[in-house]
Symmetry: C2
């Protein structure tokens, strides 16, 4: 299998169909393929050879889509760069991977000089923005216009499709090598589940396209015949507008984005009934948020996927029907059709159901390995299973519950308090839009349960009221002893709440920062 | 990927679910796995080693399902034998493939002595019927009861899952070698299309389970969480009864079976509303039959699949929505997500749309090759494409029209008449249940258009009336010059009308028998 195969199929079956929509710029399948094959020709002329890595540092656009297809078309390997990284971090990945060509858009062109200074191997910049082309860079549109189309190299099968650096926030970033087969298989498995991208719909890319979560649904969309609608960045009102204006049917979000959208004043008047599927990941959705989201996205099924870059990326799926069972909403779902999932102890032996251990995954979706890190690859893939590093347990019906957030456990007065449990209760309060619960230093209790809360617009809530509310559902020692009301929570690039940043205010010396 | 993976997943997620239903014998996932792992142990004790072929000659039952899983579990290769074959034909395949162990049921046990006599390498018979075990055979239930379960060998990936002999009616049968990956990929692609087996339903196996068409939907059912309901043979009333009695949701049929069912007197009173999906293949469905079928199976979507054993087996899919477009009902559909499909000329160069050539297919679903036939394998797979030997053309939207039935063209008075065109018109007459149109020798015209017609119960029709009816839609030279009314049409094992047999009456010397 190979990713550009999906293009050939689209050309055979529906060349005039809209394939990409970026603002008012709409490209059909036939146009997209013409541009992809020319861009591939242009990359060849720039010296890109078989297996070479080609980087991209850009916000979402139709050009990201073209890049992801033109690079394998030219027999090369994509290397999407994390847009949240500093110049030093980006340069590290570009340098280690030997990436000699980098595409940058308007947003990141100013960073290019700094990156280039740190990364002597980087010999060519291609400017894929809309503004004026910086000195010394090759213009993206000029490259396409000035190049002849080349035949598709049909890079595929076990060959590397892309190099995806992960782990930028802790430790040294590592390049995950993923093959065409791995990505296609994960996408086929997700589509076979019936819980992913709807057929012939309009799929919104608002999560960053450098991230494998979005590349995964993009691949699903290629199989499902989607039009790919791109937004350069997330704002709740911008996303609501785009969904309505472009007739979006499928969208990948993270729970925090969902919360910001459904609680936004514009949400009530936006007609979101055309949305058939809301996919989310990174973290479970709280019951109260799901209830609000179901009300707003009245025509949509909600699907959660759990996985990681090393799994190309999906391992488990929580399907729309599962969401109707309250106890399952905290689950990450069950093994996808293409993946085997187990929970094992430190000796790699499978544990009984309900016992917390490490989640491990086996299947043809698993990565080829970490770039130039044989030892780490061997450790991660020991015994033929990808060791996710995530803690979790499995229930009697195969539902996986990820409890790495349980490592984010608070020990207060000798009692263990799991943040996720408290967060679920706090989130149910009708005035609460979002929250995070952390442990903070306390003279008396060692740590105390501390809630950081975002209120819904126009609502009020006191610390005492919230504590009383919690007390009805959970033990007193689990209830927040202190509450902080904030306008918004700090988010990572993928929309995960950065508890690390919240904790930093209370644990300035970096001690006892569980994650 | 490997087929037994689906069992482990089912055990992890729903061990108490019904997995097989044969008459009143119902087995859960857990029971089924216990039996499969014991049967695998028993096969090992009988001397089955890595990669050995294990044959089965049996009507449909839950034991066919167990066999298909126990053999790879024991690290061996399945070799399902065509139940329509003579002892000589079966012995040929068993001998050529070096199959040393054969499972036979009550129906085929009487043939076993004859087969054994012709196939000296066949050393062990396992009797998988319900009657008394013949002398010299090992009892299937005794084998399971007396053997310890063994761990799954996890035979998979590129390794051979099975050897499937095809081409029994013309030329020498050839063994098609299919890997686990090929079968799993075809099934994943079909399920990803959304047009195949419904989730968590009850899938009826009434088409013979030795045939890859049924093994394909069985694989889809394993992915979709189906209960596999088996019927040992097809009768219209028996199938209607089983669908109602067992709550069948999905079924694979051939158009002739559909016709016999929907025109059966019992059809009107049978509640078929629980059927969600009717899959069919082998030949297109006529418009009038589809109309009657849609009326009877009021809750079902109709899906046609085209392929062949060498393609594991699906290449194109005609989806339920396609059936709403009359012009597409004669199509075999479009390339499935996992397959690339083209129409090429004798030089293997792709032809313009609308031009008839040979249908060729590429993808990871393609066979490993023909057993011990390197030259034929190389010819069939030349240039990396499986050459189907089927004629066809592709329209502007990628729909494939198989016109091998056009080779079954009649040259009457110098004019070309395509049987399929006449058949479509004849089938629209309200009194016609089914028909076949062939060319027969004619003194004046060389050949004349001859229709063989089955009438609906209680209906009457004369030759002249039928000719007048046809004359309204097609040119006079295309209308049947002679008509024969029969009670039923001769069918092949897969339900295809045996035109060869119809022609034999008119072309006794075997000349000019196009197919």
């Amino acid at each position: 299998m190979y990713l550009t195969q999906t293009l050939h199929r689209a050309l055979q079956q529906d060349p005039r169909r809209e394939l990409t929509v970026t603002g008012d710029r709409v490209r059909t399948v036939a146009e997209s393929i013409d541009r992809v094959s020319r861009l591939a020709g242009g990359l060849r002329e720039l010296g890109v050879g078989r297996g070479d890595r080609v980087g991209m540092l850009s916000l979402n656009s139709d050009r990201y889509h073209e890049y992801l297809l033109a690079v394998p078309w030219a027999d090369a390997v994509v290397h999407p760069v994390n847009t949240r990284w500093s110049a030093a971090e980006a340069a590290y990945a570009l340098d280690e991977s030997g990436t000699e060509i980098l595409l940058v858009d308007d947003t990141f062109a100013p960073l290019a000089g700094d990156i280039r200074g740190r990364c002597p191997g980087l010999r060519t910049l291609v400017f894929c923005g809309d503004g004026p082309c910086p000195d010394g860079a090759v213009g993206y549109e000029e490259l396409i216009a000035g190049s002849d189309p080349i035949p598709d190299a049909r890079r595929g099968g076990d060959e590397m499709f892309g190099l995806f650096y992960t782990g930028g926030t802790t430790g040294t970033p590592r390049g995950v090598m993923l093959s065409h087969d791995s990505l296609m298989l994960s996408a086929l498995g997700c589509q076979a589940s019936g819980a992913f991208i709807s057929r012939d719909g309009r799929l919104l890319h608002v999560a960053p396209m450098f991230h494998l979560a979005d590349i995964a649904i993009w691949t699903c969309g290629l199989l499902a015949g989607s039009a790919h609608v791109t937004l350069s960045g997330f704002t709740p009102e911008g996303t609501l507008d785009e969904i309505v204006a472009r007739g979006v049917t499928d969208v990948l979000l993270v729970p925090t984005m969902i919360q910001l959208m459904v609680d936004h004043p514009n949400a009530a008047s936006a007609d979101l009934s055309g949305v058939r599927r809301v996919l989310y990941g990174t973290s479970p959705i709280s019951e109260s948020l799901l209830a609000r989201a179901v009300e707003r996205f009245s025509g949509a099924g909600f699907t959660q996927a759990y996985g990681m870059t090393e799994l190309a990326p999906v391992a488990t799926i929580l399907e729309p029907a599962d969401h109707e069972v309250p106890a399952l909403r905290r689950s990450a779902g069950r093994a996808a059709p293409h993946a085997e999932v187990r929970v094992v102890g430190p000796d790699d032996v499978e544990l009984p159901r309900g016992t917390v251990g490490e989640i491990v995954v086996r299947g043809d979706n698993v990565m080829l390995g970490y770039w130039q890190r044989e030892q780490e690859t061997e450790t991660a893939l020991r015994g033929g299973w990808m060791h996710t590093g995530d803690g979790g347990y499995m229930d009697e019906n195969g539902y996986v519950f990820v409890v790495d957030r349980m490592k984010d456990m608070i020990i207060s007065g000798g009692e263990n308090v799991y943040s996720v449990e408290v967060e679920n209760v706090v989130a149910r309060h009708p005035a609460v839009a979002g929250c995070a619960v952390i442990g903070v230093p306390d003279q008396r209790w060692g740590e105390r349960v501390h809630a950081v809360v975002v209120l819904l617009p126009g609502h009020e809530l006191t610390e005492a009221e919230l504590r009383d509310f919690c007390r009805e559902d959970i033990a007193g020692y689990k209830c927040p002893r202190s509450v902080e009301f904030v306008d918004q929570l700090p988010l990572s690039g993928t929309g995960k709440i950065l508890k690390r940043e919240l904790r930093r205010r209370y644990w300035p010396d970096g001690e006892r920062q569980v994650r």
